[in-house]
Amino acid sequence: MDAVLGLQHPGLEQALSAFLHLDRLSRAFDGAAAVSDLSLEIDEHEIVTLLGPSGCGKTTTLRMVAGFEMPDSGRIALEGRDVTRVAPQHRGFGMVFQHYALFPHLDVGANVAFGLDASGLTRTEIPGRVDSALDLVGLPGTESRSVGSLSGGQQQRVALARALAPEPKVLLLDEPLSNLDATLRERTRRELRALVKEIGITSIYVTHDQEEAFDLSDRIAVMRDGRLDQVGPAEDLYHGPATEFVATFLGRAGAVQAVVEARGSSGSLRCRTPAGAIWDARASEAAPDAPGSAVNLLARPEALEMCGADESGAIAGVVSDRRFAGSAYVYSVKVDGGELELQTTGDVARHGDSVGLRPVAAPAGLFAFPRRPGGAG
C-alpha cells in the first residue's frame, strides 16, 4: 500500500527515511490560511524549534502534530507510518502546554501517573515510574502536593514530568517557558535542554523568543504567515538568512537600499548604495544579480565599524540613537536610503554626530535581498 501511495506521493520516500515527517500540511480557519503547504523532516533525537511571531501558524502546526487539529491537506508520518488521522490519545506524543494544563483536582503524583495508568501499566509499576519522572525534573518527593501549591517553575516541571512519564516517542512543547519570569526562564531553558538531550527524545519546540530558539534547538524552523521561511542550525540562519524576514527576526540588522553593480566572488554581489559606496554582500537565493537590480542591503551591527565620514568605501550618516547594552554600545545611524546599526565595545559617538560606516570583513554579515517596488529598507 505504501509503495502504491509512494508513486502518487513523492514525499513518502523521504518520510520513510525521516523519523517524523510533516508533509505539505495546510490548515485554514474560516477561510484564512493559518498554515500553508508546510513540510519539515525531523530526525530521531533532534530538537527542532518552530520560531516565528505570534499568528505565524507555529502553534497550529504543533497542534496538528499532536492531533488536536486536523490538517485540511497534507500528512504527518512517524517512522514511515501515517499518523495524520490517529487520535491524539493513540498517537503517543507527549505535550507540554503553555499554561501547563495540570489537572487541578489531582495532586502532583496523580498528574504524573495519569498517562501511566492510561497506558496499561500495572498498579505496582506506576509509583516507581512517577518517582523517576519527578526525579528527572528535580522535584523528588512532591507526589502528594497539590498542584495549586506549586510555583510557576515547579508547575512547569510537573507538566514536563507528566509528559515524559509514559515515555513518548516525540515531545511537543508549546511555549512552555512563556509564563516564567526572565531569570527563571533562562535557568529553566538550560535545564530543559540538558534534560531533553540526556533522554534523547525527539522534540518540537514552539516559541517566539529567538534566544530560546538559539539555546535549545539543533535546528530552527522560522515561520511567517503560515509558511516556513528557512530551516537550519542557528548559525546557518544567522550568518546566511534566506529571507529579509529571517535576517531581521533572528538578530539585529540595519538596512539600506542599493542597486546591484556586478556579481562578486563566491556568490556575493557588489552593491552600490545611494551614497555611492560599493559594498559586497552575500546574495540570497532570490536576490536578482543583473546589474541595476534594486536590492535591500542588510548589515549586522557587528559587521560594521565606524570611520571618517569621507573615507573611501564608507557611507556617511548621522547618529540618530545611542544605546548602552552592557557589553557594547549600539548606534543607529541615519544614512541616505535607510538606517544602519553599529555595535562597538567603546563609546565612540554622540547623538547627532556625523560619522562614516564601513564593513569590517565584507561580505560577512552583509546580505542582499530583492527589493519589491515600494518596499523600503
Binding site: H99, A101, F103, F114, G115, A118, R162, A163
Partner: protein, 555 residues
Amino acid sequence: MIGRRLSWRGRALIVSVFALLLWAVVYPNFVVLAESVSGDGGATLRNYAEFFRTSSELWALWSSFWISILTVLLSALIGVPLAFLFAGYEFPGRRVLGALAAMPVLLPPLVGVIAILFLYGESGIASRFLQSMLGLESPPWRLQGPGAILAVHAYSMYVYFYLFTLAGLARIEPAVFEAAASLGAGRFRTLTRVALPLLTPTLAGASLLTFMTSMASFSAPYVLGGGFRVMTTQIFNSKLQGEMSMAMVETVMLAAVALLVLWPLSRWEGSREYVAPGKGTRSARVPVRSRWARFGIAAAAGVGVLVLVLPHLTLVLVSFVPDGAWTTETLPPAYTFENYVQLVSDPRTFRPIINSLLMAGAATVAAVALAVAVGQLVVRWRVRGRALLEGMVILPWALPGTVLAIALATTFSVNQPWALRWVLVGTPWILVLAYTVRVLPLTGRAALAGYRQLDPSLEEASASLGAGPWRTLRRVTLPGLRPAIMVGASLAFVTGLGEFVASIILYTHRSRPISIEILSQLRDFDLGAAAAYGVLLMVLVAGSFLLGQRWLGGS
C-alpha cells in the same frame, strides 16, 4: 476605606442596613419559631408532638424530601447530557436549539404548570389527540399525583443543570482535555477522570439549587397533587383551615429540612472551586461528520426542543380561545383576540397587571438599593459582621416562599410597635415586603459579585482626583456595577411579576397579582383569559431577560 474612620453618615448607613435586614429577613422567622412553641400562656412543644403523631404530616415531609431527591436526579439526567451535547459537538441548528433548550425558564412556575395542564392534562390537547387517535374511552393518562409533579419539576428544573454545566464546561481550560488526550486517555476516561471531577462544584451547585427549588415548589403540587400532599401544600391547607399553630410548626419543619440540606452541600460547593488559569485555546466543538449522525442528532435535538417548547405554544394557542368555546374538541374550535382586549380594557382584569407591575417594581428598587448598600459594606468597607450581612442577604433563598409568607403573615398581623410589629396583612405592603425579601438574594448576589469584580483602584483614582464619596459612588462605582445590577434587577423583577407562592397566602382582593388572577380565571373555567395572562407574563419575563442579557453583553 480600611483604617479610615467612617463619617457619622457611614455609621448610620451600617446601622440601618443591619437593622433593616434583621427586621425584614431574620426577625419574622424567629417570631414563627417562638409562636410555634407557645400556647397555654407559656412555652410548649404540644404542637410539635402533634405534628410527629400525625402520619399525614410526616408523609408530607417525607414526600417533599423524596420528590426533591428524584427531581434532582431526573433534572441532572436530562440537563447534563444535553449540555455536553451542545458544548461538545457541532451540528446543524446547534445555536438555535441550544438557546431554545433554556426556554422553560421563561415560564413562571404557575404559568408552566397551567401550560402543561392545557397540553397534557385530562382535557389537554396532547391527551385528547392521543385519545381520539387510539379510540380510547378515557384520556390515556391522568396528570395527577407525584408522577405529574415530578414530570413538571424535571421539565422546569433541568434547565439549572443545563445552564450550570454549560457554564462549568466553559470555565475549564480546554488544554486540560487535550492534555488528557495526549496522555492516552480516551473519551470515556477523559469524561470520568477529568471532566466530571472538575465539574463537581458546578454539579453540586446545580443539585443544591434544584433541591431547594423543589422543596419550595408549590404550584405543581398545588395544581397537580390531587390528594398527594407535600409540605408546602400542607402548610397552605393548614392556614386555609385556620390551624395557624399547625401551619407554623409545619413551616418550621420545612425550613429546618431545607437548611439541614443546604448547609453541608453549600460547604461542599464552595470548597472545591477550580479556576482556569490564563488564556486558553478556544475549545473546539467536534464537528459531527457522518451525514446520518448529523441528521440524527439534529432531528433528535429538534424533537427534544419541540417537546420543550410545546407548552409555550399551547399557552399562546389557548390564549386566543373565547370563553366557553372549547369543550370536547382536540384543538379549540374558535379563536379571538377578545381575551387580550378584555385584559386591558376591563379595569377589573387590568387591575392585577398594574398590581404586579407596581409591586414587583417597588420590590426590585428596594432590593437593589439594599443589595448595593450591602455590597459597599461587605466588599468595600469590610465592616465587622460582614459574614452575617452576607448570610442575611442569601437566607431568603434557602427558605421556601411558603415559609416566608407564613412568617410575614404571623409577624405582621398584630399591632405591637414596641416589638416592631405592625399590621401589614391586608395591605399591599405585605406583598411588597414579601417580594423584596424573596428577590433580595438575586440582587444581593449580583451586587456582591459586581463589587468583587470592580477594581478598587478605580475608586481610589476617583478619590485622588478630588471626588468625594458620593460623587465616586455616582460617577464611578454605580456605572461599574451597572451590568451586574441590571442582571440582578431583571431577575428580581421577573420573579416578582410571576410570584405566586407567597402571594396566595398574603394577597387580598384589592392587591391581587397576576398569578392569583390566573388561578381564579382557571377556577371559572375561563381558560382563554388565564392563558392570556400567562402569555403576558411570559412576554414580560422574556423582555426582562433580554434586557438583562443586553446589559451583560455590554459589560
